[in-house]
């Protein structure tokens, strides 16, 4: 008999359920336990960069807003640096920049929004450049394993043409699902469609 590989196996995902806010955002569930909730400030006041606001809906296969979804975002700073030790430039990351946010909806409408700074382009593989983007991760009741996608910015179309991830989407029309709409000088709309017409591109990261 051959040798055995003693790898462990990843724990299976289970849905975050309807009460995910109790654990990850108890204020939204209606009570206070922690002195500070995590993920509320992505870029503190004074972090260099263009201040922007992004809002949107997550829509189900019938076009109805998913009112109990919880989103997390992860992004680089304005110079394209991630605040993480494995970014080779992490010692130069902007002070007060955490890059990570946790976003909840208005339970009545499903609308979510958050404020941050516009990220810079980041290094891709093999010397390529990734257009500015924010990574999204969604969980909710009925979502069995968290869904990853990216949001790109509409004004960067030149960089989109060279972005390795956008270009790996076989059907070019679907690339638009990862590009936000600009609604004002510093505001963007990014709707995520779980299913059906215009289904968002979700990524097996």
């Amino acid at each position: 008999m051959a040798q055995t590989l003693n790898y462990l196996k990843e724990s299976a995902s289970q849905t975050a359920g309807p009460y995910v806010h109790i654990g990850l955002a108890p204020g939204a569930a209606g009570f206070k336990t922690f002195d500070q909730e995590l993920g509320q400030v992505i870029a503190a006041d004074g972090v260099p960069g263009e201040r922007i606001r992004i809002e949107g809906l997550v829509l189900d296969g019938l076009g109805a807003p998913v009112k109990d979804v919880l989103l997390e975002v992860w992004q680089a700073d304005a110079n394209g640096i991630y605040p993480h030790p494995e970014d080779p430039r992490s010692s130069e990351v902007a002070s007060g920049f955490r890059g990570w946010g946790r976003i909840i909806t208005d339970f009545d409408t499903g609308l979510w929004s958050f404020e941050t700074i516009r990220p810079g382009a980041t290094p891709g593989r093999a010397g390529k450049v990734q257009a500015p983007h924010i990574s999204f991760w969604l969980v909710s009741r009925g979502i069995n394993i968290g869904l990853h996608t990216r949001m790109y910015f509409p004004q960067d179309s030149t960089q989109h043409a060279a972005d390795p991830v956008l270009n790996s989407v076989e059907h070019a029309v679907r690339r638009q699902t990862m590009i936000a709409t600009q609604t004002g000088p510093t505001t963007y709309r990014f709707n995520i469609r779980l299913q059906g017409d215009g289904e968002t591109v979700f990524i097996d990261v």
Binding site: A12, S13, A29, T33, Y82, E86, Q130, P164, T200, I203
Partner: protein, 240 residues
Amino acid sequence: MKPAEFFMRDRTLHPPAFDPGYKTSVARSPRLPLLTIQQTASEITGPTFGHGDFGALDNDLTMNFNHGGMPVGERMVLHGRVLDENGRPVPKTLVEIWQANASGRYRHKKDVYLGALDPNFGGCGRTLTDENGYYVFRTIKPGPYPWLNYVNSWRPRHIHVSVFGSSFSQRLITQLYFEGDPLIPLCPIVKTIPDPEAVQRLIAVMDLNASVPMDCLAYRFDIVLRGRRSTLFENRLEGN
């Protein structure tokens, strides 16, 4: 070591997005294939947390919503390690839990189950793993509760667990169950997991050695996140 990718996620161990037995998944499941990408800096990095983010009672659910008394129910320690698929501990990573109280009721404005709220139980906790990937909480054992999937569906006793790992690609939310619970094999959410052994790995075991005499029992639950390549022959992510 140069930054390298995480192992490909073995989707056969995870629930598919679409499982008609769990009705809510039907309209919330993508139907087109996931986009396959090779990981970049955006995927191999992720948020980091420090002790300054936490309060002293954040991992003690018997005390962190104290309004003048102890919560009702079976007191328990929940402990274990966060490991990766290589068996290496995942240090300094954020573990968050949430759960119903002993009556099976959640402290959430949207939960209307007739099980009583407990004035001394909030139902959430969080902690960082230590340098060995070890974590510990104190809580009470949650009760089972009914939900309308089928007319008489019941969730087994469970605690929701959220873990970060060291990168955004390791992000995981799961649920832990309790050894011997007869509701486990009946649960439509448990049954979304296609691999029976993967279900067994979500079942915490009673750990008498870790219990506190005359105080509380203990349950052990290890969490495994995606492992990472570390070969000498690298396809470098950065640069040329």
